[in-house]
């Protein structure tokens, strides 16, 4: 049944796209054009926009070589279009301008993608949210890393405010610590690929876990004794953006563990009220559960004993558990 659903779904997708292929309608993402305009040169542009000259020449876009821009003009007009009519009249409508009042986000991106062909922009949520490159990038600035309009993470948190909230929780990756003083730390784009990727906008072509293991390679294994959710998805237990609980856990121990496991049998042990004789009988069924059992239960961190929760090659001590208790 699942395969049938999958085939129907994929077939529908392919059919839809095929129909669209067959429609010779006006393209939306074709490059914008300026009628009757021809290229001039950067020198003509600097005649009026002299302030741009110094920063642009140091900027990577100003230094670019002709063998990099195959089939595209280099210089101001590679992005702003042929400038002859604009330079003659000074009319801002006769040149491509960017930002909120300029070309549509799709047209702006299309111009950038002429050269940045390695980007999978159409893969990204930003593309489908009608975001253009210049929402994040300031093209004329010189010294900002990646030509960002603002440094990370502030740039990202302008829109992703729920994530901002999480990164302010007591447990977080060090995304804010660098922002305070300009020191190097993690940034959002260490994990996220804002330009689109095969896996949920993340910087991996494999699985989410493989992204985490880029830095946390000690949990790579593959281990002899596995903890199944660890190999399924790190985010079953961890919230990478921040958490109240230690170690970026979604909940504190033992509660996170108790989402998928019952309490350990020790914690449910029926015991004595009061003092215990040196050799207690084994059958306690006629007495109430001892309060210490509960204290043990609620204060226990499962990983104090099951310390190798991410996997281990060494067997635990117990034979009835076949060595798989992840305690060594």
């Amino acid at each position: 049944m699942k395969k049938i659903v999958y085939m129907v779904f994929t077939g529908a997708a392919i059919l839809s796209i095929t129909i669209l292929f067959s429609c010779a309608l006006q393209p939306q993402l074709t490059m914008p054009a300026i009628e009757d305009a021809v290229p001039v040169s950067d020198l003509t542009c600097y005649g009026c926009h002299e302030a741009m000259k110094e920063s642009f020449q140091k900027n990577v876009h100003g230094r670019i070589a002709s063998f990099e821009t195959v089939g595209v003009e280099k210089g101001c007009e590679s992005c702003h279009g042929p400038g002859s009519r604009h330079s003659e009249t000074g009319d801002p409508a006769l040149i491509f301008s960017y930002g909120e009042r300029g070309l549509s986000p799709g047209q702006q991106s299309a111009l950038c993608l002429q050269c940045h062909t390695q980007m999978n922009w159409q893969y990204s949520e930003h593309f489908f949210s009608d975001i253009s490159c210049t929402h994040c990038h300031s093209i004329h600035v010189q010294k900002t890393k990646k030509l960002l309009g603002k440094s990370e993470p502030s740039l990202c948190f302008d829109c992703h405010q729920d994530i901002r909230a999480k990164t302010l929780l007591p447990n977080h990756h060090p995304v804010w610590e660098g922002q305070k003083t300009g020191r190097m730390r993690m940034v959002c784009s260490d994990c996220h690929e804002p330009h689109g990727s095969a896996v949920n906008g993340l910087k991996t072509d494999e699985r989410l876990n493989d992204l985490c293991l880029t830095c946390h390679a000690r949990y790579q294994g593959p281990f002899v004794f596995e903890h199944e959710p660890v190999v399924e998805d790190c985010c079953i237990c961890h919230d990478p953006h921040g958490s109240v609980a230690d170690n970026l856990l979604k909940q504190n121990e033992p509660y996170i563990c108790l989402q998928c496991h019952q309490f350990h049998f020790h914690e449910g042990k029926i015991g004595y009220e009061g003092n215990v004789p040196a050799s207690p009988p084994r059958n306690y069924t006629d007495v109430d559960s001892h309060s210490n059992s509960w204290r043990m239960a609620w204060a226990t961190k499962c990983t104090q004993c099951h310390s190798q929760i991410h996997g281990s090659d060494l067997p635990s001590q117990s034979v009835p558990g076949s060595g798989g208790a992840l305690t060594r």
Binding site: C23, Q28, E68, V70, G106, F128, S129, R185, A217
Partner: protein, 572 residues
């Protein structure tokens, strides 16, 4: 309380040449009271006023450009970066930084919750602990070095070869605990030396070819070699002999694999990874279509045990914008992982005392076979399809929709008894409004997941299960029987999730803007687990001068999780 302040003076030196030097000397003052804990997790936290300095130098000649930057904050907290561009043929990027990472030291004292006799001495059954390095503070010195070298080939326009290198290191100590069993559970905590490295060697090439007007392709290939190793000394622990909690002697010897032995624990295996990635991106401007494919083949090997896992992934996506205002995108992905089976041998010891003397555990309980093939939960095939569309309803208004189907078919691991597969269906619809001074969006998304990842042997049946052993530990309920009685499924993953997300941004003037955001998520599953969260926020941005701005910000984050907790009453 943690206070860090920085005073910076700038001494910029400019000349007619294109060299630019900046020296930023500064002072920072740090102090705190109470427990440093999470407030200074990534800080060195030296008390007092201390100097720091930042230096940057950049320059440009006719054909070359360079940037050098350095920042010294503390001896464990500094950075260097460099960028050199020679004739646009050779690009060299280098960066290095290090930082401290403070780690918690668990005093383990909660494990002292035990029965005590009238004199205060613990009596069996107890959970005991011993923190062998109780006074140690734990932190890591983390460093990351990256270099990216790109060579562009002028006689092959649009082509470049690259070699990226990354090395991460962690040095320091962390706490390592382990469990051994004597009269009862005994947790030992020791300081574990950390001396780990991760090295990535990543060469590859990219090439653009075709006709820009009709069909344009970008082909790339890269190879990743990753080496991970931990050379810190493995901690050792003396694993105790099995002693009957009631003082009946060594009657449990055949229930443990090793005793009275000093053995290593918390061993981190070295691993190696090889990955080949090929990407082909095609652009067809005349039919406004974009095609992307990606193939990955990777293999990861545990160098201690020599077992490995192999991964293959293929992705294809096509995006089309032929219909005015409509962009449609279809994606298909298949991923396959094969993780080696491992045969687990168990060191069965012969009982030395009591009724099981002279017999191994499996000889006494022939229904139990302790040795088994570990079939990995990682092995699986995943199919992932997605259809996305965006349609411009009006000049400023866009309709966005997406439908996604993902099927995870595990080779062995059952998420429900007899069922190894999970199917996820996601639908999303949204409205996006963009004008020059007002932007906003409203999204609704629903996810329906059949058989989310779960533990089908999570808990015993709520009633009707007799967990009371017989009079002795030898003829009553055994642990393996107790484990096998767990037939209830539990999971913290939802089978339905509803999400609403809204945002607006109003640029009142070039110097003032007002932003709002709201996100609501409601999720639940069949195992009496549900979770709700909502995050409203509002912010006001004011820029009274070109280089001065203030942001006033309020954000409220609410999350509530309800779940059942299962505790069997067990007398054994």
């Amino acid at each position: 309380m943690l206070c860090i302040s920085q005073v910076t003076a700038q001494d910029a030196e400019k000349s007619e040449s294109t060299y630019d030097l900046q020296i930023n000397p500064g002072l920072h003052w740090t102090d705190w009271d109470d427990y440093r804990g999470k407030a200074g997790e990534y800080e060195q936290l030296e008390r007092g006023i201390r100097p720091d300095v930042g230096i940057s130098l950049d320059g440009q000649t006719k054909h070359s450009y360079f940037e050098l930057q350095g920042f010294y904050y503390e001896d464990m907290d500094n950075s260097l970066s460099a960028y050199i561009d020679l004739l646009r043929i050779l690009d060299l990027e280098f960066s290095y930084f290090r930082m401290p990472h403070f780690l918690e030291h668990d005093p383990l004292t909660n494990l002292d919750a035990c029965f005590r006799d009238g004199g205060g001495a613990p009596v069996p059954p107890v959970t005991e602990f011993e923190d062998f390095n109780a006074g140690d503070e734990y932190f890591l010195r983390y460093s990351r070095m990256e270099s990216k070298t790109t060579v562009r080939v002028p006689f092959l326009p649009g082509s470049e070869v690259f070699f990226d290198y990354r090395k991460e290191q962690r040095h320091g100590y962390r706490q390592a605990t382990t469990l051994s069993k004597c009269s009862s559970c005994h947790v030992a905590g020791k300081s574990r030396e950390i001396n780990e490295y991760t090295e990535d060697f990543n060469p590859g090439f990219r090439s653009k070819f075709g006709d820009k007007a009709t069909a344009w392709f970008t082909l790339s290939y890269d190879y990743l070699k990753r080496r991970f190793g931990e050379t810190g000394e493995d901690p050792q622990n003396l694993y105790n002999p099995a002693v009957h909690p009631g003082g009946s002697g060594d009657v449990f010897t055949n229930r443990i694999q090793y005793q009275d032995e000093m053995l290593p624990y918390n061993v981190v295996p070295s691993s190696e990874k090889d990955a080949h990635t090929i990407k082909l991106h095609g652009q067809f401007p005349t039919i406004t279509t974009d095609v992307y494919t990606n193939y990955v083949n990777s293999s990861t090997k545990n160098m201690h045990e020599q077992n490995k896992s192999d991964l293959e992934s293929f992705v294809a996506r096509i995006t089309n914008a032929l219909v005015p205002g409509l962009i449609v995108s279809g994606k298909f992905r298949v991923l396959d992982i094969e993780n080696d089976d491992v045969f687990v041998r168990v060191n069965e010891r012969v009982g030395t005392a009591g009724p099981q003397a002279g017999q191994t555990y499996s000889q006494v309980y022939p229904d139990f076979d302790p040795e088994f093939y570990r079939k990995s939960a990682m092995s699986r095939t995943v199919y992932d399809s997605e259809l996305s569309a965006r349609y411009k309803l009006r000049k400023y208004l866009t309709l966005d929709g997406k439908f996604k189907w993902k099927s995870t078919d595990r080779d062995y691991y059952e998420v429900e008894p007899g069922d190894t597969s999970t199917d996820e269906y996601t639908g999303r619809i949204g409205l996006i409004y963009r004008r020059s001074n007002i932007n906003g969006y409203l999204y609704y998304q629903r996810e329906s997941i059949s058989n989310p990842f779960a533990n089908p042997q999570a808990a015993c049946n709520p009633s009707g299960t007799n967990l009371v052993p017989d009079a002795t530990p030898f003829n009553g309920l055994q642990y393996f029987q107790f484990y096998n009685m767990r037939e209830q499924t539990l999971s913290n993953l939802p089978d339905t999730r509803d999400q609403i997300k809204a945002s607006f941004s109003w640029i009142i003037s070039p110097m003032v803007s007002l932003n709002g955001y709201y996100r609501y998520i409601s999720e639940s599953n069949d195992f009496e687990w549900d979770q709700k969260s909502h995050v409203p926020s509002v912010s006001l941005w004011i820029a009274p001068a070109p280089d001065l701005y203030f942001t006033f910000y309020y954000l409220y984050n609410y999350q509530k999780t309800d779940s059942i907790i299962c505790e069997p009453v067990f007398n054994g």
